[in-house]
Symmetry: C2
Subunit: 407 residues, 2 copies
């Protein structure tokens, strides 16, 4: 017999360009089922559930849902709260009070963990309840998934940024360093490699959290590229760490705070890029060294989106509603690659995703640990979607010199 009751959907963690596609997928699909009495959206993620802050999305127009779907960042607003068992008991208490029978949480591995604990509470209380985690993260670091919704669009932003940064650096040569999000997984930083078209294009060097970062080796790498190309474009993950596992950013902050006698706290986001730029400037005596930290632009820039990512984000939302309401199942939705390029969605047990982090596999990283392989580029490119154009150079022949012939 069909499980009659309400649906609650919420969004957690950092926003993405397509997280509202998943929201629209859940809401529009859930509203088709007669056993669903209402579809609620919790404001600010799990915190909104605790506070009974719900929107009645049953009364949202389909047109507006479609407009919201193409708007980046969490339309239901988000939270960084990571619920413990007590917090999850409170979530469950509110859901039960509102006769909620279906719970969908769009988020990363922490959100999967929350869904898992809430689901356990329901089981222990013999309360008929379905809970599904819907994947979302620009970091692409969820286990059991070929990739995650949000990654393709962020990857596209990073590639487009590097196409431009490479052209800029070619026009006015020097060393350019960009810091990219991804504290533990290098997938987003690696996406910079898609920017390369001509053999001398940047990024010439890519540093990932999956390989130890050695400052001396970094300087040798930069010098080698400057000698060869007269310039060097570097992509580095914010999470790069030394051989002992200490993040380079943490090390630099310690140094700076110590040197500053507590007067200056350098906990802003530009610190790692500035540090690497300073080292290159001082040690290699290169004058033009610039560092950019992509920061929040890469996850919320309006108008840079992968259509493939959009469609998949919509479908994981739809599938979640179908698995829970039609098939009476709990779990985490995952994306499986079934062709070149095609995907399908599989429901896996929540503990297989909850709290776990996936890293770049070895075959995606070059042996030197300072770039990616063609296998990664082959993996990544379809996720960025269609319509990504490439830069074009002049191909006209050189003119012979008159005043200084032969030079």
């Amino acid at each position: 017999m069909a499980l009659v009751g309400k649906v609650v959907v919420a969004q957690g963690g950092g926003p993405t360009a397509v997280i509202n596609q998943s929201l629209a997928g859940v809401v529009l699909e859930s509203r088709k089922f007669t056993q669903v009495t209402s579809v609620y959206g919790a404001i600010h993620g799990v915190r909104g559930i605790i506070n009974e802050d719900f929107l009645d999305l049953t009364q949202e127009t389909t047109h507006n849902l479609e407009q919201v779907a193409i708007t980046p960042s969490s339309a239901l607003l988000s939270t960084r709260d990571k619920p413990d068992v007590k917090y999850c008991q409170e979530i469950f208490r509110v859901l039960k009070a509102h006769d909620v029978r279906y719970f969908f949480y769009i988020g990363g591995n922490d959100s999967a963990d929350t869904v898992n604990i809430v689901n356990e509470q329901a089981e222990q209380s013999n309360y008929e309840f379905r809970a599904i985690h819907i994947p979302k993260t620009i970091d692409n670091d969820l286990t059991m998934n070929d990739h995650t919704p949000g990654y393709g669009s962020a990857a596209r932003f990073v590639a487009q940024a590097f196409i431009g940064a490479n052209l800029d650096n070619r026009a006015l040569p020097g060393v350019y360093i960009a810091i990219i999000m991804g504290r533990h997984a290098g997938f987003l930083t690696a996406a910079s490699s898609i920017a390369r078209k001509y053999p001398d294009d940047g990024p010439h060097l890519i540093y990932l959290p999956e390989r130890p970062f050695d400052m001396e080796k970094f300087l040798v790498d930069v010098k080698k590229n400057c000698d060869q190309f007269g310039r060097c474009v570097v992509a580095a993950s914010e999470g790069i760490q030394d051989a002992q596992g200490t993040p380079i950013l943490t090390k630099s902050l310690e140094t700076l705070e110590k040197d500053a006698h507590g007067n200056v706290q350098l906990s802003g986001t530009g610190a790692l890029g500035d540090l690497l730029a300073d080292v290159v400037r001082q040690r290699l005596k290169i004058k033009r060294v610039r560092a950019d930290t992509f920061g929040y632009l890469q996850r919320s820039f309006f108008g840079c989106v992968s259509d493939v990512d959009q469609h998949e984000a919509r479908e994981v939302g739809e599938k979640a509603a179908q698995f829970a309401i039609w098939h009476n199942l709990d779990g985490s939705i995952t994306i499986q690659r079934t062709g070149d390029y095609s995907v399908d969605y599989r429901l896996v047990p929540l503990p297989e995703v909850a709290g776990k982090t996936r890293h770049m596999p070895d075959e995606f990283i070059n042996p030197e640990g300072n770039h990616v392989t063609d296998a990664f580029r082959y993996y990544c490119r379809p996720l960025m979607g269609s319509g990504l154009q490439s830069a074009q150079r002049l191909r006209a022949p050189r003119v012979s010199k008159i005043l200084a012939p032969g030079q």
Copy 2:
């Protein structure tokens, strides 16, 4: 009688998203004239002329020129060289040796100055010669122009970034500060205002180089917005300065270098944003404070362009060729607004643009000096081109609370 000889075109200063449209405009239009024997492109701006580094663009295919036109950043590569009289004499010597009779330099006010001096050299030598400056700058700071090619696309990038940053900040509230290019003119920073749609949208505060920046007033402004909206999004120009005209960035660097006993040089680009974020964090005791420095992304991002800007950049190149080759005139091409929205191009004497900087007019800045007026928004919007979509929010009604009614 028609002046028979070669054309040289070059690109100077910082790249823009549409600078190659102007290049294509000059080249394609010049190639139509029979008195033009060849069209050369100088590599790396005026430095390429000195070194006789020319490409023969007469032999470039039209298709490839069109592909290059839609590629951002200077396809002929650029230079930061600011030629003095001696340098300009050398430029003139090379141009004469190659029988160049038409010189087009795409750049900012420094480039206009170079064109002016080279032209004076030609006049003094009684060498028949036409020289035209073609405007380009994301800073929008050229005198005599309603606006400049390159600005519309960079402004669009800034607006799209702020649409996203505002949504991100709304989902996970706190203080967000973004530093935008424009050392002396605030036009690009002001473009962030186009991101606002709903009354509580950011940017809530906009700080420009045209008004003195007072740290205490800044803290009051931020607190006021946090009290009202629970969050605050700030746009600040990299060139903000105190009442004495000292850039805030310079002041912060001095402090940092002094405190660090010379061990740490903080000359990277993230410093100003980090400084402002630190002050807000410490003085206002706000936990979530983030700073982004848009850096090179805003001038070279691939795939974010204003079609209006593209078309105008093309036309200033075409008009330059027409004024010089058809009408035998020297000068600087300017853009004049003739309707809502339409433009025409006028040639003005080089000294009226050379070396001069235009600032935001008073009527574009609010009396408090911390935001822009509707007059600016009316001025700026058409420059960003067509197809700029807006963010959409959920409009569903709130659900009544059951466990904590009335709260």
